[in-house]
């Protein structure tokens, strides 16, 4: 069953509300349920961190994001793949899919800086699909070693490193 609010995502929260004897049924996805202010069991324990996160994003206090307020020409920023809007991301504190990163791209810098103190990954790269990036990382490392070798006048080792760097650079060009 699809969410009755957005019609895009699967409904995972099903409940009946009875107000003054009048029954109404709801079938919502987590995103829309949060917007409705419905409590979802278990989301609560993550409340503080995601509440904090939304403080880092440029959402105003009403929760009506700044994107609507940027002027008549600005449009709602919405991930084309999963349908999550930037404002929803701000409220939930979670991305809907990997394409959200590219969609919200430039706005994420301040958030990452505040959470991690950095904005760029320096760690592991997937061995099979990491391809060029993995090679580039290796070249950077070799270049550092090369400089150290030259300073210590270990020219034989430096020559070996230079050859290795050249081979890796060729590999990158072949892949391109």
């Amino acid at each position: 069953m699809q969410c009755q609010e957005c019609g895009k995502r699967p409904a995972t929260l099903h409940y009946t509300k009875i107000i003054n004897g009048e029954k109404s049924q709801f079938h919502l996805c987590e995103v829309c349920a949060q917007e409705h202010g419905e409590a979802i069991p278990g989301w609560n324990h993550n409340f503080s961190i995601h509440h904090l996160l939304s403080g880092f994003l440029n959402l105003d206090s009403t929760g009506q994001g700044s994107e609507e307020g940027l002027g008549p020409r600005s449009q709602v920023l919405r991930c084309p793949t999963c349908g999550l809007t930037y404002n929803q991301f701000g409220k939930i504190g979670r991305f809907g899919c990997s394409d959200c990163y590219a969609t919200f791209g430039k706005r994420l810098g301040p958030l990452f800086r505040r959470v991690h103190g950095h904005t760029t990954h320096r760690g592991k790269v997937p061995a099979r699909t990491g391809g060029k990036l993995k090679l580039r990382r290796e070249i950077e490392q070799l270049q550092l070693s090369l400089e150290r070798c030259v300073q210590r006048e270990e020219f034989e080792e430096a020559a070996r490193l230079r050859d290795r760097i050249r081979t890796l650079k060729q590999k990158i060009e072949e892949q391109a």
Partner: protein, 358 residues
């Protein structure tokens, strides 16, 4: 089932209390978060997408990973197939998260035979690879997690980009996706009150520290978990090394505090740990808060030589086995809190009677 049989099944590798520096470090854990390219994150996946993810991961397990010695007799457990009580028990053993147990769509977990590897599927991310060892073995845990990650990556396309690294559902995990944590037992620092200075200091260097099993900021049994916060912009080894360095200092402080207490008030200390042993051995009702603090005392008494003939691992085992899920599993029925206190004291006595303490 006899108590021995129940215990035998209940004990995971990490609860055996036999790793390096196990007199202070209970366990070391590394988990890495990964997502599959082309699928929305679990929060937004449809039922059929969630099932596909489980299927893909299961195929990799069967075709490739099962050849690794670590995965001999590994099993896949689907949350949909489990009773609530069985989920609670896995949670209390730290093998699955509350999120996987209660909120995941077609959540599943792959457990290695000794339960040092647990791979959660459809948790907040598609894949959460966790390696959990006893004692201070952070690097070993990372090496294993890294190797398993490589094995999965041979067959699965991960969501990854050059700037952000491994893409995760929550921005607090992005980059390396790594969360390394160490569980430490700090009774002497708690006695001297130095814990109140130490904890904020740890937080100041960018690590998170929290009590385990306690509600909110309260802790039970003087057990703390120290973990990294930053996942982006540092390499995995930098993250592990930093945590290792801080834990090493914490260990030194605790050792110093133990020496201090031993020198200043040995008889008071001996009295305290033996009283606690007496209560564990002879009480007929005990709540989990008191049980944890008595177990902490007894463990300290064993470490300092006041109590002989009881294995140090008793505390590690009992702190898990006296949790509500475990108690009810052992009793094979639902228990009200009052009944649990009775059963808890029975279980503790049964476990202690397996030892030959005097």
């Amino acid at each position: 089932m006899s108590f021995e049989q129940f215990m035998d099944k209940a004990i995971s590798e990490w609860m055996k209390g036999n790793g390096p520096q196990s007199e202070i470090v209970i366990s070391s854990r590394v988990r890495i978060a990964r997502n599959l390219d082309g699928f929305p994150f679990p929060m937004l996946s449809t039922s059929s997408q969630a099932k596909q993810v489980v299927q893909r991961v299961y195929e990799v397990l069967q075709e490739d990973l099962q050849n690794l010695p670590e995965f001999k007799n590994a099993r896949l457990i689907q949350m949909d197939d489990l009773q609530d009580l069985d989920k609670r028990v896995l949670m209390e053993k730290h093998l699955i998260s509350p999120h996987l147990a209660d909120e995941s769509r077609h959540g599943a977990v792959i457990l290695s035979q000794d339960e040092s590897i647990s791979i959660m599927i459809n948790e907040e991310d598609h894949l959460r690879v966790q390696c959990l060892f006893s004692g201070f073995q952070l690097e070993e845990a990372w090496e294993l997690a890294n190797r398993l990650d490589d094995a999965f990556e041979q067959k699965l396309n991960y969501a990854f980009d050059e700037t952000h690294g491994y893409l995760t559902s929550c921005p607090t995990n992005v980059g390396t996706g790594i969360r390394a944590s160490v569980m430490v037992h700090l009774p002497a620092l708690a006695m001297t009150g130095h814990i109140n200075q130490l904890l904020p200091a740890i937080a100041q260097v960018g690590l998170a520290v929290r009590g385990i099993y306690g509600e909110g900021s309260e802790t039970l049994g003087n057990l703390y978990q120290i973990s990294n916060q930053v996942t982006l912009g540092q390499t995995e080894m930098e993250i592990i090394d930093k945590l290792k360095g801080v834990v090493r200092q914490v260990i030194e402080h605790e050792q110093r505090a133990r020496r201090q207490v031993m020198e200043r008030s040995p008889i008071q200390l001996e009295d305290r740990v033996l009283r606690s042993l007496g209560i564990l051995k002879y009480s007929r009702m005990i709540d989990s808060k008191e049980a944890m603090s008595r177990l902490s005392d007894v463990r300290l008494g064993i470490d300092l030589g006041f109590i002989q003939g009881i294995q140090a691992s008793v505390m590690n085992e009992l702190m898990v086995m006296t949790r509500p899920g475990f108690l009810q599993k052992y009793a094979q029925q639902r228990l009200e809190p009052g009944e649990r206190d009775v059963r808890r004291s029975v279980l503790i006595r049964e476990r202690l009677s397996m030892e030959n303490a005097h």
